[in-house]
């Protein structure tokens, strides 16, 4: 465990922990002339759920989208700095962006299932990446993914029904099943529960807790309680800078920065 990492993550050394899954060093993002992310460095671990918090427009979603290069699809967006997945630069020419996005899956703010059947929604990723060798294989992947996302018992009798016919919370869990069907290493979640009611939100949070350890999970949220409940690490962003990053317990009980304290206690944001 390097000294540098301890400094960045700001946590006590722990012998049983794995090396960081993703590392970001001095990442800058520009949208045209707007400097949206100003030199963010961070390690993301397999062992934790990492929460990004901060007021609207602080750059947390933008930084999240850097991690699987979804910002490539936005016109006029420029990313600088080094982001590594397992020590490999994700911007290197040898890194295939299609494979990167399979390894670093994403769940969006608004549930966005394909207007196809539930089965097709989950089977799409494995199919385009050729992960299943036979129909039985594919059936198995679909079932496993739906079980892991806690949706199997609710939909097993209607896999051919349209994914868009499900309730909002079910749709979001279907999107999570779709993301984990390609067996990613990291799952990025951009405010996954912001469009859901409290009961559906609770289910998503339970699910995140169950998935912890198997995947490195990064979640952007506006909900302080949610960040406190589901995450072990919290990053507070403000005006494009990473203000504070550390153990969730420390951030919420004993923040080092005044801005963090003000935001968490509701002074602004």
């Amino acid at each position: 465990m390097s000294v540098d990492m301890v400094n960045v993550a700001g946590r006590e050394a722990d012998a049983g922990r794995r090396p960081p899954k993703m590392t970001a060093r001095d990442v800058h993002v520009w949208y045209g002339e707007t400097h949206a992310i100003k030199g963010v460095s961070m390690d993301i671990s397999m062992d934790d759920v990492t929460a990004f918090i901060g007021p609207s427009g602080c750059g947390k979603s933008t930084f999240l989208r850097c991690l699987n290069r979804m910002n490539d699809t936005i016109d006029g967006c420029r990313v600088e700095g080094r982001i590594e997945l397992d020590g490999h630069d994700i911007h290197a020419p040898s890194m295939d962006v299609v494979q990167l996005r399979a390894r670093v899956g994403m769940v969006f703010q608004k549930p966005n299932p394909f207007p196809k059947s539930i089965y097709e929604n989950v089977a799409y990723g494995p199919r385009i990446h050729g992960l299943a060798r036979s129909r039985a294989d594919l059936d198995n992947v679909v079932e496993q993914s739906l079980r892991r996302s806690g949706l199997w018992d609710e939909v097993k009798d209607r896999l051919s029904a349209s994914g868009t016919a499900l309730s909002g919370g079910q749709q979001q869990r279907l999107c999570i099943a779709r993301a984990i069907a390609v067996d990613p290493e990291v799952i990025l979640m951009d405010e996954p529960a912001s469009a859901l009611d409290p009961i559906a939100t609770a289910k998503i949070e339970e699910l995140i807790d169950e998935l912890r350890g198997r995947y490195a999970i990064v979640i952007v949220t506006h909900n302080m309680q949610q960040a406190a409940r589901v995450s072990q690490k919290t990053a507070f962003f403000h005006l494009g800078s990473l203000v504070e990053y550390g153990n969730t317990r420390d951030i919420f009980t004993n923040p080092r920065e005044v801005r963090t304290k003000d935001y968490i206690t509701g002074r602004y944001g």
């Binding site: 699987n68 979804m70 996005r101 969006f108 608004k110 966005n112 993301a179 069907a181 390609v182």
Partner: protein, 433 residues
């Protein structure tokens, strides 16, 4: 501030603005409802005017055109004399029988029956040939047959002329009217389905002119247009909308396409003349050239509407597909295009419907030639429905008036069929959310 307002209001003898039951409020409400009522009446009025014009148009065309679907036939005892026909008395070879001089036989038979030469059509012998081909043993006998009547007798049978008016004021002579009356009284005149019109091509004689040649020409032209403009238009739209960078060049391309969609169609005709006929020496009057020319005209329409349909697909679907690692091409072909397809199809049909009704560019590439045979392929000389309407409407012969309207009916039916297929396909492909 608010205290001052509430204090001032009663002093002026006026109700406060929020007093919902006041007389002023009631008046405002009444005026609002009156305005809505007026607006609705205006809408209904506009709709009724539009529907009225449509009804007038359809009624006029159908009443003028439906007669072209039937034709008059005269009964003539045809003498199948081998000498007049110019064949051996016991000839049974179908080829030689088909080449017999039926025109002479019909002319002689008509004269022998005391019919003036203007009764039986120049194409009346066709029925005789058909009859003899099906039964060669009739050779040498005298058989009563129904032969196509000439245009004026045909029109008289359909009641197209005012017979009470003076001879100088109508297109038919008194002799023709008398002959018609005599034939009718003897029961030697009947109205049947007009096979010449339904299955034939253009002719100098109105009673023999047919629409099938133009219909098939239109069909062949549209096949070429669709085969060329649909794939090229859709792929161009996909490239511009999904893959092309946004810069000055693509902006210029976009403006040019929008302008092309508004270029008068005759310009495309001149382009087709200069490029396809003069430079590439392609066959004149051929459906393939017509199709190419109309494809040029239809292309921008398809590109513009396909881009609009692609743009209407929610970006969240693109994100979702990219998020599981789909490549940009997979995103387009697995997700965006299927969702946009009903819209793309609608645009294509609008473009094709415009191509179907187009006359001017086809005049430039020689498709207004007088063509008396049905085209058998893409390189045969052909004409198309709107050009046929144009040619017939220009003809001085009275018999072509109803043919013009008949051709319009066929054109409208063709259009209706095409749109029905498109609506059917669109409803089948539409994805329910």
């Amino acid at each position: 501030m608010s205290e001052a307002l509430t204090a001032a209001a009663p002093a002026h003898g006026r109700a406060a603005p929020t007093e919902w039951g006041s007389r002023e409020m009631q008046g405002r409400l009444r005026r609002r409802y009156a305005a809505e009522q007026r607006f609705r009446l205006m809408g209904i009025g506009a709709f009724l005017v539009a529907a009225g014009f449509l009804v007038i148009l359809l009624v006029t065309i159908v009443s003028a055109g439906w007669n072209s679907f039937r034709s008059a036939e005269v009964q003539v005892p045809v003498v199948l004399d081998p000498v007049t026909l110019g064949v051996a008395p016991d000839e049974r070879d179908p080829e030689r029988l088909a080449r017999a001089d039926f025109q002479a036989a019909v002319a002689e038979s008509a004269a022998r029956a005391g019919l003036p030469p203007f009764v039986v059509s120049d194409g009346g012998w066709l029925a005789v040939r058909e009859r003899l081909a099906s039964d060669p043993s009739l050779l040498g006998q005298t058989v009563p047959m129904w032969l196509t009547a000439q245009s004026h007798i045909d029109l008289l049978a359909k009641g197209a002329f005012d017979l009470e008016s003076d001879e100088s004021e109508r297109a038919v002579s008194d002799l023709e009217v008398e002959t018609f009356r005599a034939l009718k009284a003897e029961g030697k005149l009947r109205l049947v389905l007009n096979r010449h019109f339904l299955f034939g091509a253009d002719s100098v004689d109105p009673e023999l002119a047919g629409i099938w040649g133009a219909l098939k020409g239109s069909f062949l032209v549209l096949v070429v247009t669709l085969a060329l403009s649909f794939p090229v238009g859709v792929f161009a739209a996909i490239y511009l909308e999904e893959f092309a960078p946004r810069n000055r060049w693509t902006d210029m391309v976009e403006v040019s396409i929008n302008n092309l969609a508004a270029v008068p169609s005759i310009i495309f005709g001149l382009l087709g003349l200069a490029v396809f006929l003069n430079t590439f020496n392609m066959p004149r009057s051929a459906p393939v050239v017509g199709g190419l020319t109309l494809a040029l005209m239809t292309l921008p329409v398809i590109v513009v509407s396909a881009r609009a349909a692609l743009k209407a697909v929610p970006p969240s679907i693109r994100d979702a597909a990219l998020g599981v690692g789909a490549s940009p091409v997979q995103v387009v072909f697995h997700h965006v295009l299927p969702l946009a397809f009903p819209g793309v199809l609608t645009g294509t049909i609008i473009g094709l419907a415009r191509a179907l009704g187009e006359t001017a560019p086809l005049l430039m590439i020689g498709m207004r030639a007088f063509i008396t045979s049905v085209p058998q392929g893409f390189t045969d000389p052909a004409t198309v429905l709107p050009v046929q309407v144009f040619i017939w409407s220009d003809n001085v012969q009275r018999g072509f008036v109803e043919k013009t309207s008949g051709a319009i009916i066929v054109l409208l039916l063709f259009l209706l069929l095409m749109n029905s297929v498109a609506i059917f396909l669109r409803n089948r492909l539409e994805v329910r959310w």
